[in-house]
């Protein structure tokens, strides 16, 4: 098992705004000592705390959810994560981000839940950041492009992924941001007029 990066580290991207990483939300501390979460009632309290915490976090904060030592069923995972992910993706919790960490055995059940609920989340796995759940191929390709390139603009995406037009590239990036999988880290002028956003992956 690998440990999560811990607490209040800023992910500084040169010349751009950083996002703050909050202290991990440790699921084990919110459920029974044996780390088992079978039913939705086993994670009800944890969900309430998670939603409260997300509301209290300042914008631009990334909250890692640490599953170290936890074995969770898909029903308990649904109770714990569904509303939080929907609020992030639905714009109710603006500019807050979630990543899942150290899922280990729980990865299977969490992925089943995400797939069943048509949700997508980032997992910090041993192989690096991975998208879990129901992932549209375009979303995956765009996210992986951002991971490889650190940051990207629509014009860069248009060129590198050979997309048909700039609107497609812009939509891909804004969709990724809407899902809570990427963040706008800079706005800058473009030659010939107008402005463009620079995006970075949530990881």
């Amino acid at each position: 098992m690998h440990a999560l990066d811990i607490s209040n580290t800023s992910r500084i991207i040169p010349n751009m705004k950083a996002y703050e990483e909050a202290e991990p939300f440790r699921v084990l501390q919110k459920i029974g000592a044996d780390g088992m979460a079978f039913t939705s009632s086993d994670t009800e309290r944890a969900e309430a705390e998670l939603l409260g915490l997300l509301e209290d976090l300042p914008p631009g904060t990334l909250l890692p959810i640490d599953f170290t030592g936890v074995r969770i069923s898909s029903e308990a995972a649904r109770q714990l994560l569904r509303r939080a992910l929907l609020r992030v993706a639905g714009g109710e919790l603006v500019d807050r981000y979630l990543v899942l960490g150290d899922l280990d055995v729980s990865q299977y059940n969490v992925e089943i839940m995400l797939d069943g609920e048509a949700l997508t989340a980032v997992e910090r796995s041993e192989e690096g950041p991975q998208l879990r759940g129901r992932v549209d191929p375009a979303v995956r390709a765009t996210y992986e492009f951002l991971l490889t390139n650190q940051t990207a603009t629509a014009s860069k995406l248009l060129t590198e992924l050979r997309l048909s037009n700039i609107s497609t590239a812009t939509n891909r990036l804004s969709n990724l941001a809407r899902l809570g999988l990427a963040r706008r880290v800079e706005q800058r002028p473009v030659p010939g007029g107008g402005r463009e956003y620079v995006y970075a992956a949530i990881k």
């Binding site: 029974g32 044996d34 039913t39 069923s73 898909s74 029903e75 055995v105 059940n109 069943g116």
Partner: protein, 326 residues
């Protein structure tokens, strides 16, 4: 001939061997005051045997309908069985607890094969039933099955012990060198199956165990889960919206539950475990057999998108076997 009308009469019997006991109680089997249950029937390998077991359990009022007087004594006989499956062993543990809870005197006969006898010992099955009478047997040597994770038993909706079962199963799979993907799929599926027992079955007792079929190449592990709850068909029918399905046989109803994700939840969203099982058989070389109520459903990696269904006599609760090639 002795009349076995009260438990105290049991003291007069000769318990030196299974055959000696059987010879003494033949008349009482006919009169219905005693049921002799062969342990082969606990397994889902032989549908006819298992159906016969379900009919016998109806005599105790545990499933189906019966007009007979409930027997006072149950003899659970492992002496002639060559089969020791994980779901059968889990069902044995559940059955002993359930029969005892309704006032039936349980007598168990040890296995005639050394490996099955050892599994009964190392799985904790014998200790779990230590207050009941065990009849010893002479053992014929065999070495084809062993305990991987001992029995975990829970009572009345708790999961005490079953949580540590999941952890032990995970550790055992690591020790056997199972790939991470396989381990995640197997443990994840087991966790969701136990969640179903806890959330939906209304079971008094549930048990889980894992066995290793060590002589098979590649090695095979069997994970068995059993409960004495309502079963999938009755659980779904408890949701008023689905009550019109009551006319369908259990196998058809279970098929719809697994295929369409019907649930006893009011939200109607369900079927997570079915999705999980299909994914397991798709990703890991495995077979899953479910007997719930009177339905027998099996999934196999050879055709992951399909499943086979059979109708059996209505049975007690649900039994699941996960068989995984390592």
């Amino acid at each position: 001939m002795l009349r076995l009308r009260s438990p105290i009469d049991l003291l007069l019997l000769d318990y030196s061997s299974t055959s000696a006991l059987e010879a003494q109680v033949t008349g009482h089997k006919r009169s219905g005051s005693l049921e002799w249950i062969r342990a082969e029937a606990f397994s889902l390998d032989n549908e006819q045997w298992h159906s016969a077991l379900c009919r016998v359990l109806s005599h105790f009022g545990l499933c189906g309908e019966t007009s007979r007087v409930s027997p006072e004594i149950a003899v659970l006989d492992w002496s002639r069985t060559e089969i020791c499956s994980a779901e059968g062993l889990a069902f044995f543990a559940v059955l002993v607890q359930r029969l005892t809870s309704i006032g039936v005197t349980v007598v168990a006969c040890d296995a005639g094969l050394s490996d099955v006898s050892l599994v009964l010992e190392t799985s904790g099955a014998r200790a779990m039933t230590q207050t009941k009478r065990w009849i010893s047997e002479t053992h014929e040597a065999r070495n084809s099955v062993e305990t991987l994770v001992p029995l975990a038993l829970s009572a009345a909706g708790t999961t005490n012990g079953i949580g540590s079962f999941c952890n032990s199963l995970n550790d055992s799979l690591v020790a056997l060198g199972a790939p991470k993907k396989c381990r995640q799929a197997v443990v994840g599926t087991v966790i969701d199956l136990i969640q179903n027992v806890k959330s939906h079955s209304q079971a008094q007792y549930a048990a889980a165990t894992a066995l290793l079929l060590s002589r098979k190449r590649p090695k095979i592990i069997q994970i068995g889960i059993a409960d004495d709850g309502l079963g999938i068909p009755n659980t779904v029918l408890s949701q008023p919206l689905h009550q019109w399905l009551a006319w369908f046989p259990d196998a058809s109803l279970t098929e719809v539950v697994l295929d369409q994700g019907l649930s006893s939840r009011e939200s109607q969203s369900g079927g997570g475990s079915a999705h999980l099982i299909r994914r397991l058989v798709s990703e890991v070389r495995s077979r899953v057999i479910i007997r719930t109520g009177g339905a027998l459903i099996s999934f196999d990696s050879d055709a992951p998108s399909k499943f086979m269904k059979r109708n059996l006599s209505p049975g007690l609760g649900t039994q699941v076997r996960l068989e995984v090639c390592l």
